[in-house]
């Protein structure tokens, strides 16, 4: 690096005053810092350069690439980037807390209006990404960490405070075939494409889950010199997913937030996977604990089916074509009302639409924002727009309006910023949301609920205490999934019908 370059990068680096460490990500450390030029608090992510001489981390590069294009109030802003001492530093707007901390903090009471607000922000961010054909695909720690709250929250510039989607390292770009001709004013003329080596073999029909990928090859140029190997893949009528790490693909979300099509090993999937994950967060906001906590992919599907019933082919015809599809023993599922006793009717209606099995039938993020609860007991001509507004309340515009983001409850500032999770576990009782890495722990309710917030006591690492606690369960505990489905009676083990899996199991014996 030349002298001038070096001085320049030092100058940029000097602009930010490094403060405490906020956390450690998959490919770097995140610091809190003050921008001396604007006085703003920012978060700086230092990206370690790999020792294997691979240059700037691939995932970090993807994050930079997409964040430079995705500018929206519901998506974290990448303010600046600079190299310093051989490492790349990304400057983000500072976020005070994350949704996981909010849900976990039992001192926080979330009103239905607050839940509505959180869900609305999540869906807005998602809808924006999907509009740009980017899938969110949160990483293994789940969405909650990734959903941070604005720093200006309740403070000086309250107007600007919003929830934001962050950490787009696992965002991926989708492509979709557009109809021709495409030269209207607001029609997309060129579709962003990000073709990897996925070769989807399509069986899905219109807008189906499975992508039909064709391969077009053209070699050479008019000048007779070969300009690389010209190759293009075109996806037919469906969302597809460009990726070079096929194996990693099904592992996009933390298991508990994974949509059934991913659990069945879908290689080509669409924005519906994000909606499923958003639905899981919605459920988690209502319950104050993770909704479906499977401890393996098979178990996760079992939990899903135990809650909503095993899908029938009529509900989800494409299911049988998925690579890892196995037939499950039929279980009837539970009424949503029983799973979420405190939720309003319109909330349950929206939830059921977001938890639809067939990704094609699942509501989109945008539709969810405009969701309308159609109470079937009232009938009148559909054409009557105003009547329908009156009688079909929308989740986001009926009942209590969503809380202003600036007024949302928030956990107290973190003291031990290096490892806040540990202190939380030791100091507080109550509904503690566990992240997948701690999935061996169980959440056991054995106290009365207050409002819709379940008082759930956590049994730490003492696994042996779990059983007596379950036995002591008193009658007035609100019905929750842990007990009604998985706690009280043993979970119905999924039956594996596929020959291959049986073979694997028998060979292990």
């Amino acid at each position: 690096m030349s002298e001038v370059d070096h001085l320049l990068s030092k100058k940029v680096a000097d602009r930010y005053l490094k403060r405490e460490v906020l956390g450690e990500g998959t490919y770097g450390v995140v610091y809190k810092a003050i921008d001396t030029k604007t006085g703003q608090t920012v978060a700086i992510k230092k990206i370690r350069l790999g020792k294997q001489k691979e240059g700037v981390n691939f995932t970090a590069l993807r994050e930079i690439k997409l964040l430079k294009e995705l500018k929206d109030s519901n998506i974290i802003e990448l303010i600046d980037a600079f190299p310093h001492k051989g490492n790349l530093h990304l400057v983000f707007e500072f976020m005070e807390t994350d949704l996981e901390a909010v849900i976990r903090d039992r001192n926080i009471v979330l009103s239905p209006a607050d839940i509505k607000s959180y869900l609305q922000m999540t869906l807005k961010g998602l809808a924006f990404c999907h509009k740009k054909w980017v899938l969110h695909r949160r990483d293994m720690l789940g969405w909650l960490r990734g959903f941070l709250m604005g720093s200006s929250w309740g403070g000086k510039q309250s107007a600007a405070a919003t929830g934001k989607e962050v950490d787009v390292g696992l965002f991926r770009v989708c492509k979709q075939k557009k109809r021709l001709p495409m030269f209207g004013a607001n029609v997309v003329p060129v579709v962003w494409q990000c073709f990897g080596d996925v070769r989807g073999h399509g069986r899905g029909d219109n807008g189906g889950l499975l992508a039909m990928v064709e391969l077009h090859r053209c070699k050479g140029s008019v000048l007779g010199m070969i300009f690389g190997d010209g190759q293009q893949k075109i996806s037919a009528n469906c969302w597809n997913f460009g990726s070079s790490d096929v194996e990693g693909d099904a592992l996009v979300f933390a298991r508990w937030y994974r949509a059934p099509e991913l659990l069945f090993g879908a290689k080509a999937y669409g924005p519906a996977v994000d909606v499923w994950a958003a639905a899981c967060i919605f459920a988690e906001l209502l319950l104050r604990r993770p909704f479906l906590q499977g401890n393996s992919d098979i178990d996760q599907l079992g939990k899903i089916f135990a809650a909503f019933g095993t899908p029938k082919l009529s509900q989800w015809p494409d299911m049988q074509y998925l690579p890892d599809y196995v037939e499950y023993q039929y279980v009837p599922g539970q009424p949503l009302r029983q799973l979420f006793p405190m939720a309003s009717d319109d909330a349950l209606d929206l939830l059921s639409k977001m938890f639809m099995y067939d990704p094609k039938a699942r509501i989109s993020a945008l539709q969810a924002l405009e969701h309308r609860y159609e109470n079937l007991s009232i009938t009148f001509p559909i054409s009557d727009f105003w009547l329908s507004i009156l009688f079909y309340p929308r989740y986001f515009s009926s009942g209590p309006p969503p809380t202003e983001p600036a007024l949302l409850p928030r956990p107290p500032p973190k003291r031990d910023s290096l490892n806040p999770k540990v202190s939380d576990f030791n100091q507080r009782e109550g509904p503690i949301v566990l992240s997948p890495p701690r999935k061996s722990r169980r959440v056991m309710p054995h106290r009365e609920g207050i409002g819709h917030t379940y008082q759930v006591d956590k049994v730490d690492d003492h696994v042996d205490e779990i059983k007596p606690a379950a036995g002591e369960r008193s009658e007035h505990v609100p019905m929750s999934l842990d007990f009604s489905v998985f706690g009280a009676r043993p979970p119905s083990r999924p039956t594996i019908n596929r020959a291959k899996q049986v073979l694997v199991e028998s060979s292990n014996m």
């Binding site: 993807r62 690439k65 430079k68 001709p181 053209c218 008019v222 010209g230 190759q231 990726s243 070079s244």
Partner: protein
């Protein structure tokens, strides 16, 4: 990214031909003329193409790499309200194209999600060019990668004509001309068209040239598109001009231009 080209950073970064055709002060001091400048960029595009052919990456990666390379040497002025102007413009004197070109390919392969190992690039460069001036090590690539990221202001998303082409051709009933159009589009990367025109216009111009070459009457189809045909025709003329002048370009002329570049110590 951004499915919508019109809201993308690529669209916002489109320039006029006159803005692209400016040689950096430092390069002018070395005696590099505009013609040399263009020749070197073309030579580097060819170099990227050759290298890509050896390491086997998709055409899209090549296209993105060439676009990066051209952008680095082009003056971009960023107006930041309240903060002031920031200029992104690198000279060939400071940023040796012989290292920059393979690094662009390296970066593009990551950005387009089909990573190529740096050591492969080093290996194949040695195979293609025995000249010592083309020599570089992995650490040079990694160092240059960071510099390129900065020079590009971290904008990595580039749109290309290929996708529009594959959609337009069947619509125009010209599936038989896929090969020739694809080749034409590949050749447009030897010019600065990608910095100047929206990619679907480049695709249309290539179809236009192809339909002239193949004697296919396509006027009605072009009229139905409601695009500014003058722009399409101008691009087509530029492409044809390029082919005309390309015949005159000899190895010696390229070498003469390359020799004006200072050799890295």
């Amino acid at each position: 990214m951004a499915a919508n080209f019109w809201t993308s950073s690529h669209y916002k970064q489109l320039l006029d031909q006159e803005e692209v055709d400016v040689v950096h002060q430092l390069d002018r001091e070395k005696g590099i003329t505009l013609e040399d400048f263009k020749l070197i960029k073309m030579h580097m595009a060819n170099y990227i193409g050759k290298l890509a052919h050896n390491v086997k990456v998709r055409q899209r990666v090549v296209a993105t790499a060439v676009a990066y390379m051209r952008r680095v040497y082009t003056k971009y002025v960023l107006l930041r309200p309240g903060v002031g102007r920031k200029m992104f413009w690198k000279s060939m004197t400071e940023y040796d194209p012989r290292v920059l070109a393979p690094t662009c390919l390296y970066l593009a392969s990551k950005a387009e999600e089909s990573t190529v190992q740096a050591r492969l690039l080093v290996f194949y460069t040695r195979k293609i060019y025995t000249d010592e001036k083309y020599r570089y090590e992995i650490k040079d690539i990694l160092e240059m990668e960071m510099k390129i990221l900065e020079a590009l202001n971290y904008y990595l998303v580039v749109f290309h004509p290929y996708r529009a082409l594959s959609q337009l051709l069947p619509d125009a009933g010209m599936n038989d001309a896929t090969q020739i159009c694809w080749g034409l589009v590949n050749d447009t990367y030897r010019m600065d068209l990608i910095l100047i025109h929206p990619p679907h216009f480049i695709a249309l111009a290539c179809i236009y040239v192809a339909s002239v070459l193949k004697d296919k009457e396509n006027t009605a189809w072009f009229e139905e598109l409601h695009v500014d045909m003058n722009v399409v025709k101008n691009i087509a003329m530029e492409i044809l001009d390029f082919y005309d002048s390309h015949k005159m370009i000899s190895e010696e002329r390229i070498n003469a231009a390359m020799n004006k570049l200072p050799f890295r110590p």
